[in-house]
Amino acid sequence: MQAVASFKRWLFRLYGPEVAPIILTQRRVYVLPTRAGLAFATALGLMLIGAINYNLSLGYALIFLLAGLGLVTLLHTFRNLVQIEISPGRIEPVFAGDIAHFGLRLHNRRKQGRFAINLNFAGGDAVSVDLAPETTTSINLPLQAKRRGWMRPGRVTLETRYPLCLVRAWSYVEPDMRCLVYPRPEVSPPPLPLSATGETGGARSGKGTEDFSGLRTHQPADSPRHVAWKAVAREQPMLTKQFTGASATQVWLDWNELPTGLGTEARLARLTRWLLDAHAQGLAYGLSLPGRKIPLGHGARQLQDCLEALALHGD
């Protein structure tokens, strides 16, 4: 297995992340006939035998034209892929278990369009895209995030069978991309440990319009209850209502306060869930991990910092 993998690395020139923009030079685009292409070749062979047997001169001409078509297809398919420029685009953090979307920008320098190009990560769903002439097209390539931490998606396979499905051209690229994967929030956690802080009497639930303090842009982790649906109905961007009522309070999320029987990942899962809840309720919160302490705060930035700390815990 090791030998096969290293042979493949050598054959396809896979030497780890590459510097953008990655240009698909002719040396890294591979072509082979597809199953349909092999069937086509077999059909031509049979036709050739028929033409020889019945001395069909015009039959020879037809078969040779079709054989030429096969060779031309090879070049057309190759041409459809070669010289595409690829650079990484936007990548949003996700929670473990969710689908991460890796933005890729594909630049087509040519005056002709390129069609039906499929891209996928190993184990990810394929995205099919057409590239208009002399433009850059952005796509999002999905891959399931399995574990928290920095996720490297590995190599992207670009392949195309355009125009005649007889030939497959493909190439591997490994753009320098990584996606931050937050721990997966625990599904049914104990309530927020408000009393554990010891500083205040407890949190009020964020319900009630009298405590409405304003709107901010929606984050994926926000509770749907706090989405400003009226604004959405007016076709404005998704906003989240924020509440900072008089009794808004603080919560201190401490690794060491968790039950001792809990393993590392379980602790991280619970802390993640609590962070999200605290954020959704508009509380001020801080996070204490072994070797890392994030002071009290609130807002999107605070949430991001805390989640990142959880994601990278132990790295």
């Binding site: 049979l46 019945y54 001169s57 015009l58 040779f64 034209l65 031309v72 057309h76 320098r109 499905c165």
Partner: protein, 652 residues
Amino acid sequence: MATKRESPTLARSQELWLLISALLTLIPDVEHVPAWLTTAVAVAIAWRVSIWWRRAALPPRWLLSVLVAAGSAGVFLTYRHFFGKDPGIALLILFLALKLLEMRQVRDGLAVIFLCYFLLLTHFLNAQGLDIAGLSLAALVVITAALASLGHAAQPVVAHLRLSALMLAQAAPFMLVLFLLFPRVQGPLWGMPADAYSGMSGLSDNMSPGSISNLSLSGEIAFRVRFDGEVPPKYLLYWRGPVLRLFDGRTWRSGAQMEKVSPPDTATGETVRYAVTIEPHNKHWLFALEMPVAPPTGAIVSREYQVLSKTPVRSRLRYEMQSRPDSLPGMDESEASLRNNLNLPANNPRTRALAEQWQHEAGDPEATIRRMLDHFRKENYFYTLTPPLLGENSIDQFMFETRRGFCEHYASAFVFAMRAAGIPARVVTGYQGGERNPVDGYLIVRQSDAHAWAEVWLESKGWVRVDPTAAVAPNRIEAGLASAVPAGEPLPFLVRSDLSWLRQLRFRWEAVTNTWNQWVLGYDPVRQREVLARLGMREPDWKAMTAAMAVLCGLLLLGLTVWALHKRVRTDPTVRDWNNLSRKLSRIGLARQDWEGPADYAQRVALARPELSGPLRAITELYIDLRYGKLSGKMPRQKLREMIAELKIAKV
């Protein structure tokens, strides 16, 4: 690496492409398959089109299985077997029609496409003319466009067609190279089924009243001749075919043929050299001017001076011949052979009596011959394509009652009378005359030129040709059939002499067809060697051909690769003008750096040369607006160019 994936479902546009491809492919087959199959296929396609139109569901699989079984049974009942050309084509057509009815996924579409390609090939079993070639090319473009639509459905119809035409045009050079250099093998690779050569017309090895006049109704081409020098005069153009010496009172037949061992010519004389391209007739004989000197390769000359191919002529064949019109053949004829040419059945008593009387009165054979020809000339005989039917004693009936006949009647009566008079004689069939095509210089001989004449043996001269038709209708020999038969006879349309513009058109078309036949259809192993030797290949064996083929294909592929990698990056004219500005300023050491934006650049230049700052700011603002802003159009671009051109830079 190749992950198995579910084949995508066909889009409606793809289905339509496939239906049109199948229809185009099947149309030329209509005249060659049994009527029930045509009907069944038409119904199947109409059904499929209606399903497409109504967006209905396809028929269930079991129903299709039943239809496949029923159709195959129908093919078997029609042909009594499954092997061979016709049942094979019928089955392919059936499968294509039924595949259309279970066409769901792209994979099925590919199967339909491949079947269409295959069926295109089978068209050539029936005809390989320019017309079918053109039709097939059109079908090929559409089928390939359908294949392209399978690769990418969401493109307009025109784009698929254009792509298909482009790809086929790029494939054409490969076709040319492969066609020229692919080492040809003379088929067949295996024994041909009996039905492979049905439907070929031409002379047969027997002759009864009416057989040649029937053949004369066809304007089809029998063979074409290219002479090395001048075309000999028409009265010498006797193309010798089957020689008939056995007679039963009604039908003349040829006897067993023996190869002539001794040299066939007995006299010196001018030798005529020519090449004949004969249409397939599924018989052994080849046609040559009287008398053939030496056989072409793969053929013999028989003792009766017939040129016989060792295999039946089943495809168009080209052979080189030499003939000597003035030779005296058969001086060495044996007694036994001469006796064979005197045998007569015991019928037609009146003709026999008349001939014996002539022989008695005239005394020597040549006078007897003259007497007979005079009889034809002076008595009330008619030359006609539509002679009355004759009964048992056909010669007596013709000589004394009807007196209307075509060449076979005259030849038959003449040979009968000569044998009755004790002169060895036999019937020779073949073609007489031909028409020179002024466009390419080929002599075209048609079925309507079929003819029968006589040969008599004289002690001093050997076998001498006597054409009794010439006595009745001299025009037949001098000017051809059209001028010899009375007006109103059912001549083949194209043989008529009165439509000169049509003849011109026909000459042109036939010259094109001939070129096609000679160079495309007639490109066999022999021709291939000839052509390659002429192109300078020293030893055109299969190794050299394969090597040349590989090299040329490689070069073509290389050319295509260059095309595929060719980057045509067109610079925006605005950017070009901006670069011109930088070039201009580089003369005073102020070229733009790669990392410098327009505003920064302008600022740097203005600092260095304050006197330029005014015009430079205007230029930069216009450039930024054109390149990054909303400004566009010809006028501002023109203005930018002018401003840059007018910028005066003084050297310090």
